[in-house]
């Protein structure tokens, strides 16, 4: 007799559809409910981001939502900072306390509030709050994440990867993937790679480590860290030599034909020749005479030169060819530095050329460009590229990202079928972005948005004495294009009182006392340091987090946040939406369950605080609240007339898209639609968007822009040249002497490669080995450790050593190593990995935990064997002579150069019992998690 199996059990009483927050990817999820509780989470098949699939993090959301590490009530510090001695207080007490600190500051010195949000997905709201408060000191975590990628993309081609763009997964035949951060477009990349490979397309992985996506790559290029720019420019060299570039595309859609002043003695050397309207000039092949680049019928010439008033002007393209045809970029020249044989570089260049031009295809779709020319078809170039932190988090990352975009553009593959595609609201040129603002008025709002895109030295945020206006020194000569701010510099600058002292540090979702800071030990000390009068150097610290992270102990006031299933959120087109290349889209989270603790969504708390502080925009003339909570703000806030946080179901009758008056039932429509809204881009508008009249008009109709804004790509960046020119002594805005050389080198208008920060000859001798971190696919930052399921996958993080280092040092399984950098030393467990660049070691990011945190027992492997590389990384580079120490950052954007780390490795004999350094256990605010779990909510 065969037993009977139950094959049709009831699944759930209800499915509530919302947006995941287990990483930054923002997939749609179906939350199955039983007895009012979360029973099971799966991907939403209708959702544009994940189309039904879901990663390990997403499916483990149930363990995150129910984690024992959840904070339960507001807390007030009663012991010394760092002791973890807190008293539970009511929300009224907590908000009174915060108001008591913030209101007097606002009345006199609003800049003494530094408000920085970490992995915040509501930046258009938190930024608006900070603007209404009036402090110039606001940013999210982009400065220590991937600002190089974002900024280089926007300055070069009006958009970047991930939220702003993606490979044309449907048509691409060859994808080159450079060092990716797994949580950025996590599921879409996996879906796309599966599709690409299943239909016979090829993946080339450029990464020192052969894991994850690089494990399935058809070709693995185990490059030396920090040399990607050189490898890319060697490919450019080969393509130029072979003439395998898309000249038609370059003449039409880029600044390749724009005339540049080529007279080194002229004051405008390196700037563009413009007409009286300020329009860039090109030589028209029809007439041989200069014409505005956008003249209807113009045939821009790349081969001409032009003399005018004794000055020679040459097209950008000629300058570009001069540079990259030089032997400096020949495969033979770069091979050793990159760790890639010249023959392999050439083979990859040939493969790129073959697929781009010999496998090219056309889509039968007519379209009209901004000059009024109608094209019968859309020319495809089926080679695509994707990159993220791996090339971004270096001190040469900005120019490397620019180099990658230049390669894409030379192939004619950006916005071409099969290439790389923007996602609405991108493309968007620099000119369509705001500039950064610093205008402070006591008791008034800031004079504009904090973050933006500078056009030249005159836009820097410098005070009259030349010092930085912002606490993080964003938009200064040290890092002029720091469009995302520099969160990683806030604590050290505030501690040093440079450029000034602050009063209150207000942080959200950023574990700055642990894995989100460089040199963690020093940061903990800065947070607890007192001045001569016995007061904390940073007088007040407010922190909001949902969990008992390492940062909690270092704050004075804890505002406990909800989990992602207990809150409203808005993934907005004003911010970082969920658009795909074929559709604009945005999404919400909504409380699928109510909190069972005395916690509040952080955004609701900000609305409450705004009312208590009487902030404009949040209170009316009579001081009454404009919004009673964040959901009310999402529904009714208008950034411009008719444009709000959400684009769907606008207008009183819910029929309007993008533009329209607020609809009181908007959130209900989102919930009924599975938590998201999607509006397809018209067929004719789907490619060549920066130049496509149909797209430009549609974008205006949808409220993505207020005017058509076609533009050409910047192979040559005149904005960078303006900074370089200033550093060469021209103009009213002059950098400090010690930065001139750095600016001249780093802000080259054409991409170049230089060794990353710690790669000087002397440093390389003492610390010869590159050290990297990667983010595991099954974990996100520090959150994973509290997740009972995920920590069984990644509970420890050995330092992986390549065969050469493993054998040279005589390591055996189970051994430990002492790892030393210019900044410090750690002792950690090691493991052997063969598929690894021979001069690189690596480990998983943020697995290591401090004892006592995250509701883990103190003997949890994360706390005894887990470790951070952060201890080895300083926020400043070692001193060079008498010059001020330079930040460990990209000199263009200020991006934290995490991946420039160089170390030396020695066997630790005898091995320590626990990973070093060790810190005293933190006092838990939540107790320990239960011994065993047998999780089930159904009966």
């Amino acid at each position: 007799m065969q037993p009977t199996a139950e094959t049709s059990p009831p699944v759930s009483e209800e499915i509530r559809k919302t947006t995941c927050y287990m990483c930054a990817c923002r997939c749609g999820i179906n939350v199955h409910m039983k007895n009012g509780k979360v029973a099971y989470i799966e991907g939403n098949r209708d959702h544009p981001v994940n189309k039904g699939v879901l990663c390990a993090k997403g499916s483990a959301g149930i363990m995150q939502h129910n984690a024992p590490a959840r904070l339960r009530t507001p807390l007030k510090r009663i012991g010394p900072r760092g002791s973890g001695e807190f008293q539970e207080i009511t929300w009224d007490e907590a908000l009174d306390m915060a108001t008591g600190w913030l209101a007097p500051l606002r009345a006199e010195t609003p800049e003494k509030l530094a408000f920085f949000t970490g992995r915040d997905q509501s930046q258009s709201f938190t930024g608006y709050w900070a603007q209404q408060y009036g402090t110039p000191n606001y940013a999210a975590h982009g400065g220590f994440c991937s600002v190089n990628m974002a900024t280089a993309g926007i300055y070069t081609m009006g958009g970047s990867f991930w939220e702003f763009g993606q490979p044309d997964w449907t048509h691409t035949k060859l994808l080159l993937l450079f060092g990716v951060a797994e949580d950025h477009d996590s599921n879409p990349i996996k879906i796309g790679l599966g599709q690409l490979k299943s239909r016979g397309g090829r993946l080339i992985g450029v990464n020192p480590i052969r894991s994850g996506y690089n494990a399935v790559a058809d070709e693995w290029v185990g490059i030396t860290p920090g040399t990607d720019g050189l490898f890319i420019l060697a490919i450019v060299h080969e393509l130029l030599r072979a003439g395998r570039i898309d000249l038609a595309y370059l003449t039409r859609f880029t600044n390749a034909p724009v005339l540049v002043n080529d007279d080194p003695t002229a004051p405008d050397y390196g700037l563009f020749l413009r007409d009286d309207d300020g329009k860039m000039l090109v030589i028209d092949r029809n007439s041989g005479k200069p014409a505005a680049y956008d003249t209807p019928g113009v045939r821009p010439d790349l081969a001409a030169t032009h003399r005018q008033a004794g000055v020679t002007y040459r097209p950008v393209f000629q300058l570009l060819a001069d540079r990259y045809l030089s032997d400096e970029y020949a495969p033979e020249t770069v091979a050793e530095t990159c760790g890639i044989p010249a023959s392999r570089i050439r083979a990859i260049a040939a493969e790129i050329a073959r697929v781009a031009f010999d496998e090219a295809f056309e889509l039968e779709q007519e379209w009209t460009d901004f000059r009024g020319t109608t094209h019968r078809t859309m020319q495809g170039r089926p080679v695509s590229f994707h990159a993220m932190r791996g090339i971004s988090a270096h001190a040469n990352g900005f120019q490397t990202c620019r180099a990658l975009h230049i390669l894409q553009i030379l192939l004619g593959s950006v916005e071409a079928p099969g290439g790389f595609r923007f996602k609405p609201p991108y493309p968007k040129p620099v000119e369509a972005h705001p500039k950064p603002h610093m205008g402070v008025t006591p008791n008034g709002p800031l004079n504009g948005p904090h973050l933006g895109f500078v056009r030249g030295p005159e836009d820097l945020l410098l005070r009259d004495d030349g010092s930085a206006a912002r606490i993080d020194k964003a938009f200064t000569w040290e890092n002029p294009l720091s469009s995302h701010g520099l969160m990683h510099m806030v604590i050290c600058n505030a501690h040093a009182g440079d450029p000034y002292r602050i009063d209150t540090l207000f942080l959200y979702m950023a574990n700055m006392a642990w894995n989100s800071s460089m040199d963690t030990t020093k940061v903990m000390q800065m947070l607890t340091d007192k001045d001569a009068a016995g007061e904390y150097v940073i007088p007040h610290i407010i922190y909001s987090d949902a969990y008992d992270s390492e940062m909690v102990a270092y704050a004075d006031l804890i505002l406990p946040d909800t989990t992602y299933l207990e809150r409203y959120d808005c993934i907005s087109l004003l911010d970082r939406p969920i658009s795909e290349a074929d559709a604009m889209g945005d999404a919400i989270r909504w409380p699928v369950v109510a909190p069972d603790r005395d916690v509040r969504p952080f955004q609701d708390v900000l609305v409450d605080l705004a009312v208590r502080l009487g902030l404009p925009g949040f209170t009316d003339d009579g001081g009454l609240p404009v919004y009673h909570d964040y959901a009310d703000y999402i529904t009714n806030h208008q950034r411009r007339p008719g444009i709000g946080p959400l684009a769907g179901w606008r207008g009183k009758d819910a029929t309007l898209v993008g533009r329209g008056e607020p609809n009181p039932d908007q959130l209900t429509h989102y919930i009924d639609n599975g938590g998201f809204f999607e509006q397809p881009v018209p067929q004719e508008a789907r490619y060549f968007k920066p130049w496509n009249t149909a797209y430009q008009d549609w974008a205006v109709e949808m409220g993505l822009s207020d005017n058509p804004q076609p533009y050409v790509f910047s192979l040559y960046s005149e904005i960078l040249r303006k900074f370089q020119r200033a550093a060469q002594g021209h103009g009213d805005h002059q950098p400090p002497e010690h930065l001139r050389a750095q600016i001249i080198r780093a802000m080259d208008p054409l991409p170049l490669w230089y060794p990353a920060g710690q790669d000087s000859a002397q440093a390389s001798e003492e610390f010869p080995v590159h050290a990297l971190t990667q983010r595991p696919m099954a974990m996100y930052h520090s959150w994973g450790s509290q997740n009972a399921w995920l920590r069984q996958i990644h509970g420890v993080n050995p330092l992986y050593l390549p065969t050469k280092l493993w054998q040279e040092n005589g390591f055996q399984p189970g051994d430990w190593a002492r790892v030393t950098s210019a900044n410090g030393s750690i002792t950690v467990p090691v493991a052997h990995m063969a598929g690894l660049n021979p001069n690189t070691v690596w480990t998983w990011n943020a697995i290591g935990k401090r004892k006592g945190s995250w509701a883990l027992s103190p003997d949890a492997p994360e706390a005894t064997h887990g470790f951070l590389l952060n201890h080895l990384i300083g926020e400043l580079l070692p001193a060079q002579g008498s010059e001020p120490r330079r930040p460990n950052a990209d000199p263009v954007t200020g991006q934290a150069a995490w991946f420039d780390l160089k170390v030396k490795i020695e066997k630790a004999d005898p091995p320590p019992e626990q990973a070093q350094p060790e810190f005293p256990p933190l006092r838990s605010q939540v107790g320990r998690g239960p011994q065993n779990l047998a999780w089930r909510v159904g009966k």
């Binding site: 483990a60 003439g243 000249l247």
Partner: protein
Amino acid sequence: MTQLPPATSRQLGLVIDLDICVGCHACVIACKGWNTEYQNTPLSDADAYGAAPSGTFLNRVHSYEVQPENGAAQTVHFPRSCLHCQDAPCVTVCPTGASYKRREDGIVLVNEDTCIGCGLCAWACPYGAREMDALAGVMKKCTLCVDRIYNKNLPEEDREPACVRTCPAGARHFGDLGDPDSAVSRLVATRDGYDLMPEQATRPSNKYLPPRPKDTLGEVDVLAPFLEPATETPEGFLGWLDRALEAL
């Protein structure tokens, strides 16, 4: 001792594509989530927040490095779960009849009501695909989501194993491997799908598709025509450029 059915009408199973499995563990956790909530007893986790967490997982992903004769070492991500063998040694070894193979679809299951937790089946399985649940004291294994694939409470499109539904890369396929014309059988035929450890004579239902050859680019001779120097003409780069522009 338990008898295997002489034949099964169908032989359901998984086809796992090792060429595109990125090792993300999505299948591992989707399986854990579904089976924790919907099996007779949840898949438990001992010492969940402690020094040695040890939970029951019906599907695990292992990563191996492979050193080919020439070229760089390669990483293979290898998902492992019950293979629903046609000659399943875990069934024949079961003293109570709790382990059994279904006549109608070939799925190997454990009847928790009669499982005495003796562990013989785990010992007999050459693939290590069975896990004794430490808290429940019964043997757990992949059910091929028998409570999903026929479940009338799920939409038709969702009647597939949780691991297959969630796999982001599309590396997991589900179907009738007993039918040579099924999509999965055809995929196995096209891609040279193989049995795991055939020498064990278990005749597994699940198949693996091998990774395609890697690191083949480098045969410069083949690709050289695509990079023929074109711009090094007597008139120089500009001469080439002028002619190329005229040809547009």
